[in-house]
């Protein structure tokens, strides 16, 4: 078991969201999409220019940017 931020999660590794370090109202949308504590998550693929990355969460593929992923801690 180890903790790391979501942007550093290796591809296709099963992980679980542990903590979300976002307090602003803007994280509401992330919550709607399933980014909440305890949710399983998997990293899938990256944009050709990097920065934005697609994740498998709650049976869907959702892409978020690195700046957002940095604030999400996961356990593997």
């Amino acid at each position: 078991m180890s903790y790391l931020t979501l942007d550093r999660l290796p591809f296709f590794k099963n992980a679980c969201i542990y903590k979300i370090n976002l307090t602003d109202d803007n994280s509401l949308r992330l919550k709607d999409l399933g980014f909440i504590e305890g949710e399983p998550i998997k990293s899938l693929f990256k944009s050709p220019f990097g920065d934005i990355q697609a994740y498998y969460i709650l049976d869907s593929i959702i892409a978020i940017r690195k700046e957002t992923a940095k604030n999400i801690e996961v356990i593997i």
Partner: protein, 606 residues
């Protein structure tokens, strides 16, 4: 007769609009990406002497509003109706249940419809509908919207459920986190997974790969443009021939009218309208169905995904790329599409810059001119390919300008920090025949009627301007002379500039106006082949530079009246509308002056 009002709600991309179309028979366009329905669509159907009014909401993950398309959903649900049906995706039931609970907490009379049952079965997922109904305590139906017997069943379901009153009492729990826990619990209990397959990622791996992603995207778009250019040539000429064949018959039919009036109708109105139709119809009939197939397959969100880092550097996000793709068809559609962007300032910037992407109305001219002056005179072989590549280069210039102007605008507007999220829906095989019919009806027909409505009166105006004379010179030529010095600075001439101004109602008619003014009899020649056009333009001092400047001006100049009106409606701000007019105009003038200076400089050196 009894009537009920029913709202269809659901997550994005669960096939709500497909169900809506199947129920009402109303042709509304659906696409395989978030935010396709950006406004309330409504339609009716009759069942057992009762009228049901259906309202199709934009897809949303939450009714706690985030972007304007979600506000539409929120207000509609809160306003109350006889029944809210939540459409769920069988493959991501949990997500749909969260929305269901949110809606159940604000309103009573809710029913659930689990769509895409067939697709789920293919993926080894089975949903126990009866069990789901038991747990939720509301009416539930499982179906596959593509199946017509399922739609029949759904109509019966709606009529039974509407009779009941107060299906659910408002829920007591309000914490969004507990919604998700509860949703997961129920969906786990009701879902049976046989032979779990991961969703196919092969396509995504290729389309978003580091080295192939961008090239594949470019190849797709250039291929689309090339097919449009080369495929439209022959039908365009055939239509032109047909229209000029019909002309004498129309003239004969109108002999009882005064001679001048006949000329106004036939040479002014009929000829212009015929020209616009002949030039516009074939490319639209090829471009729109192909583009719709791209849309329905789920390819467009991948473009947004690939392009996001570029747009991020411009202070925007990948969803702007989606609105730009919509702008390729029609800028007014692109501006409306900007609703999918949740950040207000990025949305305004996207609206203002949308006209830098050439819409279908400008495409025909870009294609014709580039076929004559770039493909025709500069290239020896593969003429249509070279012409297509040049149009692609123009689009590239348009995209670059969009990014630069967006960067400036978002700096001025002071962007508030938002976390950008993008949904990548699963790929779906588009239904080819339906796509063809729908895009013909929805888009081609709609845009063509608009073009005709606009070109007919403008044809009359130009005929009048060409035939009313002051001191033996027509008003048309007088105005062209007036604009000539301004045009020359930009490497154009007065006629071209006048044409752009007169064509404010619709960009389609720029070339017809130019031709009419050159012929100066106020009427188009019967046979307008490319060869003839090429001779006419060259005879009026057009060089490759003139053509390039005209194309650049067309690409970058002010949006058409419809687009401006849409921007006013969408932004609600006069300032924003004014900016949408001024910024492109200034850009176009500056760019044309620069290219003209550079080309003049090169000429003197050589």
């Amino acid at each position: 007769m009894k009537s009920y009002e029913i709202i269809l709600a659901g997550n994005p991309n669960v096939g709500k609009s497909t169900i809506f179309n199947a129920l009402t028979g109303l042709k509304q366009h659906t696409g395989n990406w978030t935010g396709k329905t950006v406004d309330l669509a409504s339609g009716t159907f009759k069942q057992d002497d009762t009228i049901y009014t259906l309202k199709d909401l934009p897809g949303t993950y939450s009714i706690i509003s985030n972007s304007p398309d979600e506000v539409v959903s929120e207000t509609a649900i809160c306003k109350g109706s006889d029944l809210v049906i939540v459409i769920a995706d069988a493959l991501s039931l949990t997500r749909s249940l969260v929305l269901l609970f949110q809606i159940m907490s604000t309103t009573s009379n809710v029913a659930l419809c689990v769509n895409l049952i067939d697709e789920a079965k293919k993926n080894g997922v089975f949903i126990d509908i009866d069990l789901l109904e038991n747990y939720l305590n509301i009416p539930v139906i499982g179906l596959s919207a593509k199946n017509s017997s399922d739609i029949k069943r759904f109509k019966e379901f709606i009529s039974t459920v509407s009779q009941e009153t107060n299906i659910v009492k408002p829920n007591t729990f309000t914490n969004p986190n507990s919604f998700l826990t509860y949703a997961k619990e129920i969906s786990e209990k009701c879902t049976y997974k046989v032979n779990i397959k991961n969703r196919k990622l092969v396509l995504d791996k290729i389309l978003t790969s580091k080295y192939l992603g961008i090239p594949i995207m470019l190849i797709f778009i250039s291929f689309l443009l090339w097919i449009t250019i080369s495929g439209a040539n022959y039908p365009s000429e055939a239509l032109m021939y047909l229209f000029s064949y019909l002309k004498p018959y129309i003239t004969n039919g109108l002999v009882w009218l005064p001679e001048n009036l006949v000329s106004l109708v036939v040479d002014g109105v009929y000829q212009t309208t015929a020209w616009v139709t002949a030039v516009m119809l074939p490319p639209m009939m090829i471009f729109f169905p192909l583009f719709t197939i791209l849309e329905d397959s789920g390819f467009l969100p991948r473009i947004a995904f690939n392009m996001d880092p570029c747009f991020k550097r411009a202070g925007s996000n990948g969803k702007q790329a989606l609105t730009m793709c919509m702008g390729l068809g029609c800028n007014a559609v692109g501006v409306t599409g900007c609703r999918i962007i949740s950040s207000k300032n990025v949305r305004l910037a996207s609206m203002i810059t949308n006209c830098f992407i050439p819409c279908n109305g400008r495409f025909s001219m870009l294609i014709t001119l580039s076929a004559i002056f770039i493909g025709g005179s500069l290239a020896k072989s593969n003429q249509s390919l070279i012409a297509a590549l040049f149009v692609l280069l123009l689009i590239f210039i348009g995209v670059t300008t969009t990014l630069i102007v967006t960067r400036i605008l978002t700096l001025i507007f002071k962007e508030e920090k938002k976390h950008f999220t993008l949904e990548l829906p699963p790929y779906r095989r588009p239904e080819l025949i339906k796509t063809l019919i729908r895009s013909l009806l929805d888009r081609t027909f709609k845009i063509l009627t608009r073009a005709i409505r606009v070109s007919a009166p403008v044809g009359a105006i130009i005929w009048l301007m060409a035939n009313i004379e002051i001191n033996n010179t027509s008003i048309l030529n007088l105005s062209a002379d007036f604009f000539d010095p301004f045009g020359r600075i930009m490497g154009l001439d007065g006629t071209i500039l006048l044409a752009f101004i007169l064509a404010l109602p619709a960009n389609e008619i720029v070339l017809p106006i130019i031709i009419m003014t050159y012929i100066s009899s106020g009427q188009l020649m019967d046979n307008l082949s490319t060869t003839y056009l090429s001779e006419l333009l060259t005879a009026n001092d057009w060089s490759a530079i003139t053509a390039i400047n005209t194309m650049l001006f067309s690409l970058l100049h002010f949006p058409c009246a419809t687009t401006l009106w849409t921007i006013k409606k969408e932004s609600g701000s006069l300032l924003c509308t004014a900016l949408a007019f001024i910024i492109p105009t200034v850009t176009a003038i500056l760019v044309c002056i620069t290219t003209n200076l550079i080309s003049n400089l090169l000429m003197t050196i050589i």
